[in-house]
């Protein structure tokens, strides 16, 4: 048995998914923004690594929300800068 933990299976980790290019362009036009204006997430984030996303991918995160029950957020994967 592998000792490695799949973080996505943890109850506290919300659902991360890489978005397709069409979805991304739809998202950008919906909010009238460029990818730079999206919230960011580092490429070495454990969940990002787990789903195999790389820099410049956009990730959809679906999580349980206190106020709305279910909330969607989108994050742009960026390289973690050196210090």
């Amino acid at each position: 048995m592998s000792t490695k933990l799949n973080v996505l299976e943890h109850a506290m980790v919300p659902d991360h998914k890489i978005m397709k290019d069409e979805e991304v362009s739809e998202l950008l036009s919906r909010y009238n923004i460029t990818t730079e204006q999206l919230p960011k997430i580092y490429h070495d984030d454990p969940a990002v690594r787990e789903i195999g996303a790389s820099a410049d991918d956009v990730i959809r995160i679906i999580r349980a929300s206190h106020t709305a029950g279910r909330a969607e957020a989108y994050r742009l994967v960026v390289k973690r800068p050196k210090k």
């Binding site: 909010y31 009238n32 923004i33 730079e36 204006q37 999206l38 919230p39 929300s65 206190h66 106020t67 709305a68 909330a71 969607e72 957020a73 989108y74 800068p81 050196k82 210090k83």
Partner: protein
Amino acid sequence: MPSPKRIGQIEFGLLSPKEIREMSVRKIIWADTYDDDGFPYPQGLMDLNLGVIDPGLRCKTCDQKASECPGHFGHIELAKPVIHVGYTRLIRKLLRVTCRACGRVLLSPEEIEKVVGTEDDQTGDLLSEKDVKKERICPHCGEQQLKINFEKPTTFSEVVVEDGKKVEHKLTPADIRARMEKIPNEDLIPLGINPDVARPEWTILTVLPVPPVTMRPSIILENGQRSEDDLTHKLVDIIRINQRFKENQDAGAPQLIIEDLWELLQYHVTTYLDNEVAGCPPARHRSGRPLKTLSQRLKGKDGRFRGSLSGKRVNFSSRTVISPDPNLSVSQVGVPRAVANEMTIPVRVTVYNIEELRQTVRTGPVRPDVNSPCGSNYVIRPDNRRLRLGADNLDTVADMIEPGWTVERQLRDGDVVLFNRQPSLHRMSIMAHRVKVMEGRTFRLNPAVCPPYNADFDGDEMNMHVPQTEEARAEATILLSVHENILSPRFGGPIIGGIHDHVSGIFMLTHDIRWFTKEEALYLLRYSGIEHMPEPGKKEGGKEFWSNKQVFSQILPDLNMVFKASSCQNCDVCKKEQCERDAYVRIIDGQLKMGTIDKKAIGAFDGQIVNRVIRQQGMKRAAKFIDDLTKLSIRAIMFDGFSFGIDDEDLSKTEYGQIDEVLRNAALDVTRRIKIYEDGQLEPMPGRTIEETLEMQIMQVLGKARDQTGQIAGRHLGLGNSAVVMAVSGARGSMLNLTQMAGCIGQQSVRGERIVRGYDDRTLPHFRKGDRGSDAHGFIQHSYKGGLNPTEFFFHAIGGREGLVDTAVRTSQSGYLQRRMINALQDLKVAYDGTVRSTGGKIIQFQYGEDNTDPTKSAFGDPVDVKGIVESILKEEC
């Protein structure tokens, strides 16, 4: 207006001597400022090329007048280079990491790579002093390096070993400059310096920029004498010494004198840049006051950044002490006449208002009393010239004004003003009120608006601002007025409501059932704007009577609700209508059928009725309800009178006997438990030592004893007691306070434990060593009324101090926490598409709060107030 531009990058660098000379319009050589006629000396510190500050003169550089010329830099050629104090650390670092002979960094390319990384894979680190070992040999030219000593503020020296002795050899700024010049450009990059904009030799000044006169204006004193700015004084010193230095140099003065002058020049330039450098006596004014030089202008609370750029002073504002006036509406503010006479609103003259404005001009700057119409202080002609109104020109000016002029009219009743109390921690700290001009010297406000401002009347001061334009006034009325801010976005409930005596008063009025004659009912309701009295509740002996609940119902709007009052004891099974405390409140069709109105119903922060009125009838109606309520409750509390004195804490002999017995038994119980502990018979509780177990048991026994004394006292003191009324209604205080006054104060604690600190094995020399008894560790068995004995008093002071320290620490910590949070959040706003964005358009949240719901418009977090709707239809609790 030019369109806003996005800032691509900002580059910081040093001013090179070449740049300083290029931007200079004049070389300054004379230390004098003005000649005997008061005209600036050419090439002096006030040279006309540097800009003008005297009206009438024109700038020789840009040919503009005093207020238009921005000023121009000049320069002073220094006789010898001097160190810039701001860069001493950088200079020290550069001297220590570079070779004294060839100027290269004292590391091989491989060693540099280890720290900085390769060009493609940079570590983000820069070379530091620690990366270079002391006194090593230069890897490039083989020169033996020497230790560099730095002595504050600006002295550098090399340590040379001569005949086995260490000798310090001083480096002059010229020597240092020569070494800096030798450092090649490519060696500077791993040090974090961009050589294109910051060559290291530029940290040693050879030429000094002279700031324009506009940033160091001289002021003319009342006796006609000129008083120069501190910077000018310092520049005069620099030029004088520089001149003397040059003369001595040309005359071939001995080395010793040259060195002295050089040091003196260094001192003056240093203090010119920063007059608070460590190890350097500050330059002083003739009066002994330290000079305020360049760095002092920027630093600190009153410096350029915190004092002038982040914080500003405003006109049209006033500040005075506040005091309460329950007869004002919550949306009003009482303004002293003296303030109202000083503050103005500009009104443009039209054919419609000319007569009215003429009248204000005739009244002039002093309004005789609060009821007379307002006056005005200035009129502004169409050419923007201001005319001050005085006793001599009132009638002439009044006849002169015509459409197109502007009259600065004084404040009068009904004007919109902003009212503020610091610290402004939330948006309700600034609200718009309507002016009510009053006699006296304080701002008056309805005590019901104290909670949002967090104000009390122990000497608090508040600020008032008068909006000057129609737009500002509209914004103030629509967004900031008090009745728009009854609901707090913090918890979605009303933050304005009855406090203190309002709650006690309404409780005494509505508790149980009482009957009032017509005169009494009208006394209570007279100020609440009631048009008709309802049918009397009962007739007896030919006289009409109204019940207390009827009286209260007169100020209620039409609504239905059922809830439990503050005085509810949360019984296991609610007796509802049969509640003996009258804590089950039912309001049907705007009539209070049963129950007592108290904090839960109308108090600030709770205010169930206020909340329901806002949801169903709107903010305006709620504001009126609060107004009526404050007036009614104040009349109600005055109807019976309400006071508290020392004899209100009196108990009877039986109670005192019972209290004594409870305390005696508790003391015996404690001794018994200590005995068990000392015999080693005590069973420790899980996870605790025996000592901890004993302590917990003692605390428990003593706590229970205190509660019992409270119950005994409470049995004697009923609702006839003012303190009980306040505690039960939620107006102020609790039954615990009453227990401590009448029964027993109880255990004093430090960090949640009995008091153990003091002498060896005991808290005070009055006790035996190792005494674990209740009175030796801070149990106070007396009441505040009965009085404490000396040891008890001492323990009480210990416990009280901890409380004070806690609050002081908590407020400072939470204040800083809030400040940091506000700094992070202040520029975020909700865009029209519901996203929360920063000023750069970056998305922070895709939907505001993820549910797009405004907390002030939600029912305690839920978008729909189901309970309210059901209650208003069924007229029953759900």
